[in-house]
């Protein structure tokens, strides 16, 4: 592991975080910023931040950011990338944003194979609004709107949206990772690097689903939250590469 005592160039310094203690957003933000620097693309990056906890992401990211309406991130990202293909475009979204209110935009931007990258933070709840049930809430998981625990008879099942997306030809790379400890963080950084490189290579839509702790709404300590991801969340949402068509698409591109 390459330990650097260096603040990432594309991550703002001396800003007080609004995220709760133990929240995964700060880790994911820093990883995104680090990879932008590693790949030397921060200078032409535009990130679309969502409605939800990461609505204020522009306070931390030190590259260009457009704030989206709830669920519309990949539509905006599509507009940015198509209008100016030289930009490096990221849509950063939570589970409610991406897999509930923005499902149509998510599926169709992926199906068009838009050359954008989606960072999908899955913490199994609506965080900003106070812990309501999300499309990815686990069966039996208690939230403020599934008080007896998510019951499929009433609330349906956790939505595996990234698995769905992985079946589409437009999606070149999809991986699920977990912020459940140092190893998970390192794997997440590697996954983000793969996804970003896919966009640089012009191969199409890439998405990294990151299982991310929300201690406040889970009513757990940060340490127990990490544990819950490892022991419970990854049972429903196993980590791993869901699709990787990079080699094939690179060859096809060369053939063209």
């Amino acid at each position: 592991m390459n330990l650097k005592n260096k603040w990432p160039e594309y991550y703002k310094k001396d800003v007080i975080s609004h995220y709760c203690p133990g929240c995964g957003h700060g880790i994911a933000h820093r990883l995104v910023s680090e990879v932008l620097e590693d790949l030397d693309i921060g200078g032409k990056a535009v990130l679309v931040n969502p409605a939800g906890c990461a609505v204020l992401a522009y306070l931390y990211f030190d590259f260009d950011v457009l704030e989206s309406a709830h669920g519309r991130g990949t539509a905006m990202a599509t507009g940015i990338k198509r209008a100016n293909p030289d930009l490096f475009v990221i849509s950063y979204q939570g589970d409610g944003d991406l897999a509930a209110i923005g499902t149509a935009e998510t599926i169709h931007s992926a199906n068009r194979g838009e050359n954008i990258t989606v960072i999908f933070i899955n913490n199994a709840v609506y965080g900003m609004t106070g812990g309501q049930m999300a499309p990815t809430t686990l069966l039996g998981q208690k939230t403020t709107t599934s008080v007896a625990g998510r019951n499929p008879a009433f609330e349906g099942y956790p939505l595996h949206i990234t698995d769905l997306l992985a079946t589409l030809p437009g999606v070149v790379y999809a991986e699920r990772t977990a912020l459940d400890g140092p190893a998970g963080i390192v794997k997440t950084k590697k996954a983000i690097t793969n996804a970003f490189q896919s966009q640089i290579d012009g191969l199409g839509y890439s998405i990294i689903e990151i299982l991310s702790p929300c201690p406040t709404n889970w009513k757990k300590s940060p340490v127990d939250s990490f544990k819950w991801i490892k022991e419970e969340m990854t049972k429903e949402f196993p980590v791993g590469v869901l699709t990787d068509k990079r080699k094939k698409y690179k060859e096809e591109k060369i053939a063209v």
């Binding site: 032409k44 989206s68 519309r72 507009g79 209008a83």
Partner: protein, 352 residues
């Protein structure tokens, strides 16, 4: 350039491309489908972007995305689809992003029908989405005017960094007329948009956000928008006066209805009735001052609309008690005739 014989819907598209629009996003809905089809056929040849989106919501948000890069952008729809776009129009207003939005109105409410209507006047002129904002609204009266106002709408959108509405109706979308188009703009000569997101490069990062949590800051942002709207009200009002010089009664009508009203005015003038027309071309900002002027010497006004009475409220706000204001409307997609309007003018003039 030579005259071409072309439909209203195609004219919106051709004029937009000539005005430097290089991104179009839309979802099919009658009676404006020819516009999307025109863009599909011509935008890529012009080096631009055409996407048939998955919904009107997606189209307006792609519009926001493209606009923030500094590109000239258009989206279009018809009444129910414009309702879906309202969230995005509110965001465009809040983010101060230019865009041109075409509404080829049809009968409503609900799905209504696909016949011409003017039922979206309130929605267009009062903001339409949530929050305190206005959008300039241009209402062309002929296909030639669609060409001219579409071109103009992009200039106004960029000048004030605001979404602009072009308001037509099903009849205007489908009508073909001879049109002389403005010469195409040279994209290379267009001024750089300093505010656009282009990546920070080696400079400072920027963001565009409409979330302003501090109420005092949000209030400040609202007043800033109001100052811009006051400038628009001062500079951008457009209207046409037709035979008002010697008029005893003035018809107020816009778009297709103004055209029909001109027929009615010619008709009643042969009977010796001195009728004239005031045709607002901008519905917001509304041409209040000219109405106040006219009301100082003309005591009878009649407002014709293809609605149950929406613009008539703006006429009442402008004129107040200074003159008598009558109204005749045909909502739901019914297109009135010149003879029908002539009867109403006759009736008003014969009443004491």
């Amino acid at each position: 350039m030579d005259k071409v014989f072309i439909s209203g819907n195609d004219t919106f598209g051709e004029s937009a491309i000539r005005a430097g629009c290089r991104c179009y996003f839309g979802y099919p809905i009658t009676p404006q489908n020819e516009l999307g089809e025109y863009m599909a056929a011509h935008m890529r040849n012009a080096g631009g972007v055409f996407i048939q989106s998955e919904s009107e919501l997606a189209a307006i948000n792609m519009t926001i995305g493209a606009s923030c890069t500094g590109s000239r952008v258009m989206t279009s729809s018809s009444s129910p689809g414009i309702s879906l776009k309202q969230e995005g129009i509110s965001f465009l207003a809040a983010l101060e992003l230019p865009a041109v939005i075409v509404n080829v109105m049809r009968g409503g409410p609900g799905l209504g029908n696909i016949a011409p209507s003017q039922g979206d006047y309130f929605q267009s002129t009062r903001g339409g989405g949530h929050g305190d904002y206005r959008t300039p609204v241009f209402a062309p009266g002929t296909i030639q005017e669609i060409a001219d106002l579409t071109f103009h709408a992009f200039e106004v959108a960029d000048k004030y960094r605001t979404p602009v509405l072009l308001l037509g109706d099903g009849m205007m979308g489908q009508t073909k007329e001879p049109v002389v188009f403005p010469e195409p703009l040279n994209l290379k000569e267009m001024p750089e948009k300093e505010w656009a997101l282009k990546g920070r490069g080696k400079g400072k990062s920027r963001y565009m956000a409409s979330l302003i949590l501090d109420p005092v800051e949000e209030e400040r942002h609202n007043w800033k928008l109001v100052r811009k709207y006051k400038e628009i009200e001062k500079n951008e009002v457009m209207y046409e006066e037709y035979m008002t010089d010697d008029a005893d009664i003035v018809v107020v009508a816009y778009g297709t209805v103004a055209r029909i009203a001109k027929g009615a005015i010619k008709r009643v003038r042969t009977e010796g009735i001195k009728a004239g027309l005031l045709r607002p071309i901008t519905l917001w900002p509304f041409p209040k001052d000219i109405l106040v002027d006219l009301a100082s010497r003309i005591k009878k006004f009649i407002v014709f609309e293809m609605s149950t009475g929406q613009m008539v409220e703006d006429v009442q706000l402008a004129i107040g008690n200074k003159a008598h204001i009558a109204f005749h409307g045909r909502p739901g997609g019914v297109v009135p005739t010149p003879a029908e309007f002539a009867r109403y003018i006759n009736r008003e003039i014969s009443q004491k």
